[in-house]
Amino acid sequence: MRHKGQGRLGWLFASPYLLYAVIFFAIPLVWSIFLSFTNWNLIAPTFNFEGFSNYIKALKSAGVHAAFFVTFKFLIVFVPMVVVSSMIVAFVVHALPKFKGLFLVGFFLPYLASGVVSSLIVKGILSYNSPVNIFLRHRFGLDIDWLGTPFSALVVVSVMIAWKFTGYYALILTSGLESINQDVYEAAKIDGANAWQRFWKITLPLLYPALYTVLILSVGVTFGIFTEVYQLTGGGPSNATNTWQMEIFKQAFTNLQAGYASAIAIIASVVTFISIYIIRRLMEWWGKRNGWD
């Protein structure tokens, strides 16, 4: 009896989250799957079941193709960028003798900044007639179309998001660095290991749990990029920054094609799930090689 009562208590404590999950995850998911098989625009009184036609249309669409490849391009550019920058910040803060917390809070602030506001600032800085560009044109003859060429637009958006997340990830990595026992470094020094060897053979493997978290989080961010792209490039030029979220937004809220947008959302979820699963397995394989089971 006592055991049964404890079970109920467990359900009771879990019920707020369960309720939240049912309302905000399960019901919308089922609803999206339902919509994805219809041609409903949510306005018309009637609709037809279209089978897989929305999925077929999505798989043939240039916008969806772009979203698929652009996400992986962001993955290649953004993830190494944010991991390296957050590691640098973490190492610098870790090495500070005092005020570590203060510096970490400082680096964390961009994470709290509104994506819309920071995008507008960047837009102003990179505009054709901004002081930066006028200086580059007149001093060096450089006339750069920052947001109008595919590669630079991708890099600008990546840098913006990396700037936003660096402080947050640095916080995680700093706590990882703090947890490494200094005796290990002392022993390695006695054995003659130089700084480079200590980094590769001690720091990086022992930082694995924090690094694992940062990598999975940053990969997740890549699949959810929206605000910066929406504000800065609108997915252009020529779909070069068209992410999954951007494509879903366009189809759902501009073209008002709820069924089609739902199909794209389901495809995006599957791609995201598979990608994160593969990256997780790769990270776990690397962890096992370094003694993390």
Binding site: I43, S127, N129, L147, G148, G236, T254
Partner: protein
């Protein structure tokens, strides 16, 4: 178990109570007629000036008609005003009526039977007559012959030229034809290599609505007001369309188009030509007081091909209006039309609309009615817009307008501006793609 069930019941009750606390600004069908009073809900455009205007109108109307109560609330802007209307209809929470509806979106709502044909409501003809919009309304008739939108305002889009810079180039007035425009481009680049005729990043952006403010302005002028799509048929003037694209290609060849993002390029003189709506002047008053009509800028109708024989150039009308939703009860629909008739029957209400919002009422007599003379004397920059209203063509009335206008950008206008495709080939590719969409 009993305790557990009690807890679940309590949770449900709390949720229901919280739901009851919702402000619920919509829900026309749910508003019942109580004690002879009909309550209607009105969604105003998501900007403070238009909300203030409609609140004032509703208050005045209710004083004269105590049997009709009007609840005015702003239309949600996030993620888009169209999507918020879509969500409201889907949730059976649509208002009785709303403003801010363009002809293209109305076509989608009409096809889905979400709005009522106004011409089938008793008293619609009186509304048209009372507001003197017999001519204006013709352009708003949908391909099924019905009238779904009561046009509120019509901003006949004009182009502005930096006359101060044109004068430095030796011109005292803006160019009217394509060859005159190309001549200006040549002289501009020779004297000011860092300036452009048209500096606008949107020229290479395929977003559907952006074509209203470049392609359609030029196309309506070049085609002498010829339609582009009628119902589900391609009726565009191919020759005129190719000429528009060729103008853009020629300007691109002369390096006279800037498609990089620039901050206020016209105001800062980076570009000397731009599409300009009357709403801009309020912003200029605060931010760019140096922008003065006939001193720094002049307004003109769109440039036309050299061989076009016409007294007056047509243009695109950025125009929006009022609709009545099908979810409303018959009594609410009747009350909504009564409110619409009251607003439109008094020219002083249109005067207030201009004073509060700088939007130009969609009426035939705007530039001739003496009641508006003093307003235009105070705002001479708006006079050319009022005069252009009879020559301004609203957006296409096809539910697939988003796809159609995206194709105009992707297949033709954007690549031509970038110098990636020949104008004729671009036009043909666009035509083929749009005909595919229309099937």
């Amino acid at each position: 178990m009993k305790k557990f069930l009690s807890l679940i019941v309590a949770l449900v009750l709390v949720s229901a109570a919280l739901a009851g606390c919702s402000t619920g600004n919509g829900g026309s069908g749910k508003e019942a007629s109580k004690k002879g009073v009909t309550t209607i809900t009105f969604w105003a455009a998501p900007n403070p000036t238009q909300q203030a205007y409609w609140k004032e109108m509703a208050d005045q109307f209710t004083k004269e008609h105590p049997n009709i109560k009007i609840k005015v609330s702003p239309m949600k802007e996030s993620p888009t005003s169209e999507a918020s209307i879509q969500a409201a209809i889907a949730g059976h929470n649509a208002p009785t009526m709303s403003e801010n509806i363009n002809r293209s979106f109305a076509a989608e709502l009409a096809q889905s039977k979400a709005i009522v044909p106004l011409d089938q409501l008793s008293g619609w003809d009186d509304v048209v007559k009372a507001r003197k919009m017999d001519n204006t309304i013709k352009g708003w008739t949908f391909s099924d012959g019905h009238q779904y939108v009561a046009p509120l305002y019509s901003n006949a889009m004009l182009f502005a030229w930096r006359i101060d810079i044109l004068k430095k180039l030796g011109y005292n007035e803006p160019p009217k034809t394509y060859s005159e425009m190309l001549d200006v481009a040549k002289k501009l680049k020779a004297k000011y290599p860092e300036k452009y005729i048209w500096a606008k990043a949107d020229l290479v952006d395929p977003t559907a609505w952006k074509r209203w403010f470049d392609f359609f302005m030029l196309y309506h002028a070049a085609s002498n007001g010829n339609n582009f799509i009628s119902g589900n048929k391609w009726v565009a003037d191919d020759q005129a369309g190719v000429k528009v694209l060729k103008l853009m290609a020629d300007l691109q060849k002369q390096h006279a188009l800037l498609t990089k993002k620039a901050k206020d390029p016209f105001e800062t003189g980076v570009g000397i030509f731009t599409d300009l709506g009357p709403w801009t002047f309020t912003m200029w008053k605060d931010k760019y007081p140096e922008m003065q009509l006939n001193k720094t800028f002049v307004l003109s109708t769109p440039p036309v091909p050299d061989d076009l024989k016409s007294d007056h150039a047509y243009t695109f009308a950025d125009t929006k209006g009022l609709v009545i939703y099908a979810q409303a009860t018959k009594a609410q629909q009747k009350a909504a039309l009564q409110f619409m008739k009251w607003v439109f029957s008094h020219p002083e209400n249109d005067l207030k609309l201009m004073e509060k919002t700088s939007l130009l009422p969609a009426r035939d007599d705007l530039s001739t009615n003496e009641q508006f003379t003093s307003y235009f004397d105070k705002h001479p920059e708006l006079k050319p817009y009022a005069a252009e209203i009879p020559y301004a063509i609203p957006a296409i009335d096809n539910p697939k307008y988003n796809d159609i206008q995206t194709q105009i950008g992707q297949q033709a206008f954007n690549p031509v501006v970038q110098g990636k495709i020949d104008p004729k080939k671009g036009w043909e590719a666009m035509k083929k793609a749009i005909e595919g969409e229309l099937k």
